[in-house]
């Protein structure tokens, strides 16, 4: 087949790439999390001080908790929107399937920033939503909590990550052999029972993958809170950004990053485990 030399030659560039741009930065981040800052300089003094701060300072714990709450809310909303959409497309859209599928995918090609600014325009004090509500005389003053609130962050992230939740669910539904649905009807089950007993269990791996996407992507997001979050909508990634920037506390920033990384990896691992348990072949 191929010679050893050829094999090493082709595998070297990707290995170098992963080594330099992935493993090395992770190692540096990990090391930084055990270092400290003295008089504006990072000193290579190994200690656990940063981890103590992370778990004892209510400020960080609070933001972390809020971040997870927002990510959970985004996950729930994305699934509540994405699942029915995927179900409709897979089972009832018939000829319109291709078109609707493209319509779900197209927003993914629009820049994240553009979509973020669009929400600013919609939710702002003199934005479209407030203007419309006042036009209908439902409100007389601009509703201020639309923008710069956790609500706005959840709304924007849901908008952005619903296609990510939709795609794996749709793929899972498309893979359900249709004779199984017919068999269920044949055995006396109506639409609701068929959904609960056959379609939902068989789409669980997709549902899980969709939920993982939405949760993990929201967990690390920092643009949405920056654009529409305001002070009450700050998420953990913004804290990390500040620590690495204005606050110049790389070690603490690295500690939080390590913590989020561990959280994310365990989530992915758990999701993988459950997906295996729920897939049947």
């Amino acid at each position: 087949m191929y010679s050893r030399a050829y094999k090493s030659l082709v595998s070297l560039p990707p290995l170098l790439w992963v080594g330099i741009f992935l493993l090395l930065p992770y190692a540096l981040m990990f090391a930084h999390s055990f270092w400290a800052v003295r008089e504006g300089l990072v000193v290579h003094q190994w200690n656990l001080h940063n981890y103590k701060i992370l778990f004892s300072n209510p400020l960080y714990a609070g933001v972390l908790f809020r971040t997870m709450r927002i990510a959970a809310a985004v996950t729930l909303c994305s699934l509540l929107l994405g699942y029915p959409l995927a179900y409709y497309l897979s089972f009832h859209a018939h000829a319109r399937k291709e078109l609707l599928y493209q319509l779900v995918i197209v927003p993914l090609w629009v820049s994240y920033l553009v979509r973020g600014y669009a929400w600013k325009t919609i939710l702002g004090s003199d934005g479209i939503l407030n203007g419309f509500l006042q036009y209908l005389h439902l409100t007389h003053e601009p509703v201020v909590f639309f923008l710069y609130s956790p609500f706005a962050v959840v709304l924007m992230l849901t908008h952005i990550y619903t296609p990510f939740a939709f795609l794996p669910i749709y793929a899972a539904l498309e893979h359900i052999p249709r004779p199984l649905v017919e068999a269920s009807h044949d055995l006396g089950a109506g639409s609701t029972q068929t959904f609960l007993r056959v379609i939902l269990p068989l789409s669980m791996p997709g549902l899980l993958a969709g939920a993982t996407f939405a949760f993990v992507l929201s967990l690390g997001d920092f643009l949405a809170p920056l654009l529409v979050g305001g002070p009450s909508g700050i998420m953990i990634a913004n804290v990390v950004q500040t620590l690495f920037g204005a606050a110049f506390d790389w070690p603490l920033g690295a500690t939080i990053s390590v913590f989020i990384l561990i959280l994310t990896v365990s989530l992915l691992f758990l999701s993988e485990l459950l997906e295996k348990r729920w897939s049947f072949k």
Partner: protein, 359 residues
């Protein structure tokens, strides 16, 4: 089903009140007529087979009865009630699907229990009926297995049990044996027939395999291009095929095309006296109706001809010859096995065995 002594199990027609009546049903998909004006009665307790080539509409007819498709024209009635307006889950009809369609996320036990569970059957009744069904198909030892762990034959048994546990009035089987290898298929045919006798449920079986249809069925409904060609018992179709197509599809035959003129039938090199009106004719002559005439003599009721053996296919107790009667007219002849043959021989057949038929 009451059975008279004179005419056991096989009946040419469904004489009793029909369990299922298909009344002038047609089905169109777009511009294609998949089924054309089908009328068919199925008696209670019957084993009826829908036989036809792929694309003949047999599966579509099955799906109309199961409720997965609606007829474009016509009605379907079961036990005196209109069936085609009910959704599939309200029909007392169950289906054994072509590739079984077992639920991959449920154990064998839960697959079989599915129909009872969705109808909120009590736990104790469900448990005893599932046990009974498992016993019936000899799958007790696999109750906890997932379908993916089972062989084709075992999956087939689970699919049967899953359908029969609901005590349907009519069981539909969509080519259930086609996924099995030849030996297992023969074995399952036997089991299927025994099972049908045991449970007494009406079976409507779909297949493209004429041998299977002949071996299993009380009656065969032969479909051709979406229309019924002939509905009769296997013996009846074999002995008296209604059309040339039926004669060719059910068993092997020689189709003799020719004409009658002045009371003489002429089909290529074969000629015999036949007192019928002039015109073109087709006869079906089964290969086993022809035999070798060793002494060269024939009875008055027989036709003798001379032909050259071109091919010989050994088949254990019998062998099939392809013989040339001259000018390329080939006939197939089935004779008891008798060793290699070559050259010219005399063959005879009885006049009554050449059955005249429609195109």
């Amino acid at each position: 089903m009451s059975v008279s002594l004179a005419n056991p199990t096989e009946q040419g027609t469904a004489t009793e009140a029909a369990l299922l009546e298909v009344r002038k049903v047609a089905k169109r998909f777009g511009t294609i007529d998949v089924l054309k004006n089908i009328s068919l009665n199925i008696a209670s307790g019957e084993f009826l087979t829908l036989l036809g080539e792929s694309g003949s509409g047999k599966t579509t007819l099955l799906r109309l009865i199961a409720g997965f498709e609606q007829p474009s024209v016509g009605e379907i009635w079961m036990s005196g009630q209109r069936l085609d307006i009910l959704p599939p889950y309200r029909r007392r009809v169950n289906t054994v699907f072509q590739n079984y369609a077992l639920f991959p996320h449920l154990s064998v036990r839960d697959n079989i229990a599915y129909g009872l569970r969705v109808k909120n059957t009590s736990r104790s009744e469900m448990s005893s009926r599932v046990d009974e069904a498992l016993r019936m198909v000899k799958m007790q030892d696999f109750a906890a297995s997932r379908p993916s762990k089972l062989s084709g034959g075992q999956q087939q048994r689970v699919a049967l049990a899953r359908a029969l546990i609901n005590r349907p009035q009519l069981l539909l089987l969509d080519e259930p044996l086609s996924a099995l290898d030849a030996n297992l298929r023969k074995e399952m045919q036997g089991e299927l027939k025994a099972l049908q006798r045991e449970v007494g449920i009406t079976f409507l079986f779909v297949t493209h395999d004429q041998e299977e249809a002949m071996a299993l069925s009380g009656r065969i409904a032969l479909l051709r291009d979406g229309a019924l060609e002939q509905v009769a018992s296997p013996r009846e179709i074999y002995a008296h095929p209604a059309t040339a197509y039926a004669a060719q599809f059910i068993g092997q035959t020689n189709l003799l095309r020719g004409e009658i003129r002045d009371s003489i039938a002429t089909c290529g090199a074969l000629r015999w006296l036949l007192d019928e009106t002039d015109g073109p004719v087709i006869f079906s002559l089964r290969p086993e109706s022809i035999r070798i005439c060793a002494d060269g003599k024939r009875q008055t009721s027989e036709v003798k001809f001379r032909a050259t053996v071109r091919q010989q296919f050994y088949g254990g107790p019998s062998e099939l010859l392809e013989v040339d009667c001259g000018s390329g007219q080939m006939l197939r002849v089935r004779i008891p096995a008798r060793g290699p043959l070559a050259g010219e021989h005399d063959f005879v057949f009885t006049l009554a065995d050449a059955i005249r038929m429609k195109e």
